[in-house]
């Protein structure tokens, strides 16, 4: 019986798509996002040059310059590297950061929040107080401090951002579990002999997914922004990695001489984050009936 309630009803996906596609912005965001994923996956196909190749005769070339090796569509940086190729390869890092951070914080947050909401009592109290403590620090500051402990680098930046993003999932899961755990279908499953783990993750969890999916979209874009900010401060991915925030940090000193080195990496971050947020808005409208039509 529980297995039936957990499986996706036919037509549910169709209903979701009907609501989602009503929101033109969300569809535009989805198209952009899919395009970005394709570009990132097939980066070597799309990039005109190797992202680390330095053309010493073409330093800080403005957009649309034709060098001896070919066209630099959006210019070169201070080391003569093609910015477009670096941005294309950089998409891999940003999307990878988003996927890793969201998976780690979502899985961890759901498990912790599920325990807090399901068992209540002292477990709940301890968990929620720990989350309060994490939330008492501004997220970027805590991430910066964690990276100071772990050492600068992309992996450590992702760990730090995942830890900082976790409490939101814990709170959402707990709140959803609290409303679900006393429903009749849970009692029925309990009476028919389901154990606590089965109740938590097979019976209750599928009914708590809507707010979690919306939060996942939000924290996906948040993770990309935070990782870029850490890279910009010199605490994230290290040069010569073509991570967009790190590229901006390298470009800072040329801000008055070469606007293109500064403009395009930031534009790439903005477009990616915007696409994901557009999708997130659409997801929220389609999945969260309470917020529907507001």
């Amino acid at each position: 019986m529980t297995a039936v309630s957990a499986s996706v009803r036919p037509g549910r996906l169709k209903e979701f798509w009907r609501y989602f596609s009503e929101n033109h912005g969300a569809v535009a965001g989805l198209v952009l996002f899919v395009a970005l994923v394709i570009v990132a996956v097939a980066a070597p196909v799309f990039a005109p040059f190797d992202p680390d190749q330095q053309f010493r005769d073409a330093l800080l070339m403005p957009p649309l310059t034709r060098g001896s090796e070919g066209l630099f569509l959006i210019g070169t940086d201070a080391l003569g590297r093609d910015i477009l190729s670096r941005l294309i390869f950089g998409a891999r890092f940003s999307l990878f950061i988003g996927v890793v951070v969201v998976s780690v914080s979502l899985i961890g947050g759901v498990i912790i929040g599920m325990f807090a909401g399901f068992f209540r009592g002292w477990i709940d109290t301890v968990i929620m107080r720990v989350m309060d403590i994490i939330l008492a620090f501004p997220s970027l500051l805590l991430a910066l401090t964690l990276v100071a402990i772990l050492g600068p680098g992309l992996t450590n930046a992702m760990i730090a951002i995942a830890i900082v993003a976790q409490p939101h999932y814990v709170r959402l899961t707990r709140a959803a579990v609290l409303t679900e755990r006393n429903r009749d279908y849970v009692t029925a499953a309990r009476v028919s002999g389901a154990g606590p783990l089965w109740l938590m993750f097979v019976t209750i969890l599928p009914n708590c997914m809507a707010p979690l999916i919306v939060q996942a979209a939000l924290s996906f874009s948040g993770a990309i922004l935070d990782a870029a900010a850490l890279g910009f401060l010199g605490m994230g991915a290290q040069p010569p990695t073509p991570e967009w925030g790190t590229m901006l940090a390298e470009a800072r000193e040329f801000i008055t001489r070469a606007w293109w080195v500064v403009t395009f990496p930031g534009l790439a971050i903005l477009i990616t984050v915007l696409a994901i947020n557009l999708m997130g808005d659409g997801l929220r409208d389609a999945l969260d009936p309470k917020l529907k039509r507001s």
Binding site: G25, R129, V130, D132, I133, L135, A136, F137, P138, S139, L140, L141, L144, T145, A148, I149, G151, S221, L225, A228, A229, F232, L233, G234, M235, G245, L248, R252, I255, T256, W259, V262, T263, P265, G266, L267, I269, L270, V273, L274, N277, L278, D281, S294
Partner: protein
């Protein structure tokens, strides 16, 4: 109401203990020995090492070290900065007005533009204004503010030469520090052009720091307004023959502002995170830049003390927001 405040205060005690635990373990988790770290590159003799170990209490069991650290926190002793040798508490609160002034201006900027934009967008729902305002808000909400800052510098400081690039006031002005707020101090100094200089230094950082709160407030105001405009009492007010302006400004806005006030309060954490980036880019001498500098200088006691003080400020602001919310909304007050 009194019980509600007491309950909220009670919740803060474990959080504060937790925050100090985090700060305490921050120093212990750092790679390397704390005394060797303080000694720096010069090295240290074994006798002096042992002396310092016992002076700082590093030879005691961990739980006793924490108790003595917690005790000193309660007495207002947040440690001493390695790089300046000054107490961290003094250093923090010398720089804090700069951050407060910038954050305050950013919130004003966000509210003054965001609330009217949200109200108009809701009243003229699906108009071109609504669509433009909400699209702009979504872009603002997605903005990497460190890049936004660089763009504004390129255009307004570089190309147009309208605004200065960094600092709080032009170096040609010297006057005594009275309040720590440059706008007020420059007026008090009576020097011609001082206020103008301070204000022009504030413009770009204010826009950068205020962008995300502005977007959030505009979106939140719009959706709160839409909800309220559908209520029966609004229909009644309209039916009574009140002017549309009065219905919106007096009857609807007052109720729509309740969730907006909470949103503004929640933006304080966002502002502190934003201050780290904004202050670093504009060389704004506030606590955000100080924290980043301390991390890069490996001035770990400063980072540790700063963490606790910033967390305390965030907690205090959240408490005030909660109390304001409890004051306007009895349902929250009586919740357990």
């Amino acid at each position: 109401m009194f019980g509600f405040i007491l309950r909220r205060l009670g919740l803060l005690i474990p959080t504060f203990i937790g925050v100090s635990l985090v700060a305490f373990f921050f120093i212990r988790l750092l790679p390397g020995d704390p005394v060797l770290l303080m000694a720096g590159e010069r090295g240290i003799s074994p006798a002096r090492y042992a002396e310092l170990m016992s002076r700082f209490g590093f030879d005691l069991p961990l739980w006793r070290q924490f108790l003595s650290y917690f005790n000193s926190l309660l007495h207002g002793d947040f440690g001493t900065s390695i790089s300046t040798k000054k107490p961290i508490f003094t250093e923090f609160f010398t720089l804090f007005p700069a951050t407060l002034e910038l954050s305050f201006c950013a919130v004003i900027f966000a509210v003054v533009l965001g609330v009217p934009a949200g109200v108009i967008a809701a009243v003229k729902r699906n108009s071109w204004f609504d669509h433009t305002a909400m699209a702009t808000a979504l872009v603002g909400y997605s903005m990497p503010i460190f890049w936004w800052a660089l763009l504004l510098i390129i255009v307004f400081s570089g190309m147009l030469g309208w605004t200065p690039v960094s600092g709080r006031i032009s170096l040609t002005f010297f006057f005594p520090k009275v309040t720590g707020f440059m706008l007020i101090d420059s007026l008090l100094s009576g020097k011609a052009g001082a206020f103008r200089s301070a204000a022009s230094h504030l413009i770009l950082p204010t826009i950068v720091l205020g962008t995300i709160p502005l977007a959030v407030i505009a979106r939140q105001t719009r959706s709160a307004m839409l909800e309220v405009l559908g209520e029966d009492y609004i229909r009644t007010a309209k039916a009574k023959g009140l002017s549309p302006f009065r219905v919106v400004a007096v009857h609807a806005l007052r109720n729509a502002l309740i969730p907006v006030i909470t949103t503004i309060g929640l933006q304080i954490g966002v502002l502190m995170a934003g201050a780290i980036l904004t202050e670093t880019i504009f060389s704004w001498p506030g606590i955000g830049k100080w924290m980043v500098d301390s991390i890069f200088r490996r001035d770990y006691p400063a980072v540790q003390g700063g963490l606790v003080l910033i967390a305390l400020i965030v907690m205090a602001v959240n408490l005030v927001v909660d109390m304001l919310y409890g004051l306007v909304n009895p349902k929250i007050r009586h919740q357990r």
